[in-house]
Subunit: 340 residues, 2 copies
């Protein structure tokens, strides 16, 4: 399989991207990459890695792309005008079937807009959805949608449930993932207009293991596999979690440093903190797949380091091995057949 990787997307590009690619290549031998971006800069960066680069040289292709889309660019405009950008060129490779999956740590808005405009939706998919896997007390939970669609209709949420289910089946091998709507109460009558209407549709929907509402505070218990919501609420949950983890660890640090004895205690517990940090760290969990697009799309975190990029590449491998695009196509096709 082959991945198109935007070498100039993200806060630490291109260094972290190149390093992440070589790191992933050390672990997995079943993929090649096409890196998009300034050719000379990419080559220069690769050559810094000496023998690590030489070893994997045959698996790396470069497609020159002199332009860069930044977070300041208006996404739709940038996709249309910056045809020579690393992001657009990488997406084109997936659109043209030159690559199986696209990976970028660049502007979320541009990735979403570009994937929809250039690679396009799978026919029958109402809206693509950003679907990160979030660490919980047990196995990770998929929160879908996490930001692709700020305003949703109930039917979109039903499709999100199916696309998430397809992911769990195809990629994670879980046959009957538990699907819930995230809401402000578990009872059927709880929620806003959108979730109440989606609940009414989901409880009669075939091919899903719909278990009802999941309270906001229970997303991280690990008792659900696929949690559906509109992209605004999903973003609220995801970013509130990130913000809370960050604030909590800062507070803990300042408390621990406030006395000599607790400072010493903290030093002794260092490995525990380290494990916790890595359990909570998005970097270990790869990027978020954008489901419903006619090709693999992985949006890595903007601040991705090389480990995060390697994780995102590993996630791309799983997406392609599980043929998630084909699975979603099959679901939409069957659904349309049944309704005719």
């Amino acid at each position: 399989m082959r991945f198109a990787i935007d070498a100039f997307g993200g806060d630490h590009a291109p260094e972290a991207i190149i390093e992440g690619v070589l790191l992933a290549m050390e672990h997995y031998s079943d993929f090649d990459v096409i890196l998009t971006g300034d050719e000379a800069a990419i080559k220069g960066e690769l050559e810094k890695h000496g023998s690590d680069y030489t070893k994997h040289r045959a698996r790396i292709e470069i497609v020159h792309a002199p332009d860069i889309i930044t977070c300041e660019d208006q996404p739709t405009v940038a996709i249309k005008r910056k045809k020579e950008s690393s992001l657009v060129k990488a997406l084109r490779l997936v659109a043209d079937n030159e690559a199986d999956c696209f990976i970028s740590a660049g502007s979320s808005g541009a990735v979403l807009a570009g994937a929809t405009l250039l690679v396009k939706r799978i026919p029958g998919v109402l809206r693509p959805a950003l679907a990160p896997l979030i660490p919980t007390l047990k196995d990770p939970v998929m929160l879908i949608d996490c930001g692709a669609n700020a305003d949703c209709k109930p039917e979109y949420l039903v499709q999100f449930a199916h696309m998430g289910t397809a992911y769990f089946k195809a990629v994670l091998g879980i046959e009957s993932p538990r699907v819930a709507i995230v809401s402000n109460g578990t009872e059927e009558g709880k929620g806003n207009e959108l979730t109440k209407a989606a609940y009414a549709l989901l409880k009669d929907e075939k091919g899903l293991n719909f278990v009802g509402n999941c309270e906001f505070r229970d997303v991280m218990t690990g008792d659900y596999d696929v949690v559906v919501c509109d992209g605004f609420v999903g973003n609220a949950i995801l970013k509130s979690m990130e913000g809370t983890v960050s604030a909590l660890l800062k507070m803990l640090k300042s408390e621990l440093m406030s006395s000599t004895i607790s400072k010493l205690g903290a030093a002794m517990s260092k490995s525990a903190f380290k494990t916790l940090k890595s359990r909570m760290d998005y970097k270990e969990h790869g990027g978020a797949p954008l489901l419903g697009i006619n090709g693999g799309i992985i949006k890595a975190h903007g601040s991705s380091d090389s480990t995060a990029i390697a994780s995102a590449i590993n996630q791309a491998r799983k997406l392609v091995l599980g043929n998630i695009t084909g699975e979603i196509e099959r679901y939409v096709h069957n659904k349309t057949e049944n309704e005719q």
Copy 2:
């Protein structure tokens, strides 16, 4: 001032309520209470406290209310039918001006429905809003609305901004609190239909220090005072924070207990963990005021212990001392005058 306290609301009622009242009375001498609930049970509970009770006896009145509204009751129905419940009787005392503020740790739905139906909105207030103060890295931030209105119109968010501002001025003495809309990006164009429309209204609104959008992850940075949102999103943020804190502390505990040395280290850092827990604990921050109602309403957390109840009583003191109801009335009045 006098508070009407639902002695039979909450997971630890009536024990925690009675104990919390006596605890608050030890600290502050400027209030009396009317406790509603089963008279014999309340008396029995009070008498367990011996001299602590005797000392404050003159400040405590009991209004017999044999019935209880539970979380299983449908709120609006329960308010109308369970006229002899501790919750309804306590609300009636505020409605009849027998008490200045109502406090309950009972069903949120019933408190919201009851306050609106019995105590009623301040004329001109479109929707009352639940407005807890949330711990941050600096001073607490008010998240308004946190659950009273699952679906909102842009005008509601504008009023929430004014009510929150009134609270900061009147209760906390902060003259020009920073108001933001919580959204999925800081730029003006970011958000869903609701927040974009609210942004357009708020940027031209007089009498507010509107600073733009606040990203979800930045709610806890302490860089904002009043953060407005619809009640569904507010609930998502608040409960995601609660869920994350709880999951994170559980993970940390299990990591710390995984080796002898880190266990020992944790024991040495115990005081730091304790301070952190109390900084993050809603119990130390009192309950959430319901703003926009024609009388003080405090919703305490369902699992409130005596400390939480004492904090909620202290918050009720501040609400009444700041005359928040009068301040919101004044804002609505001026607003209506200006528009005529």
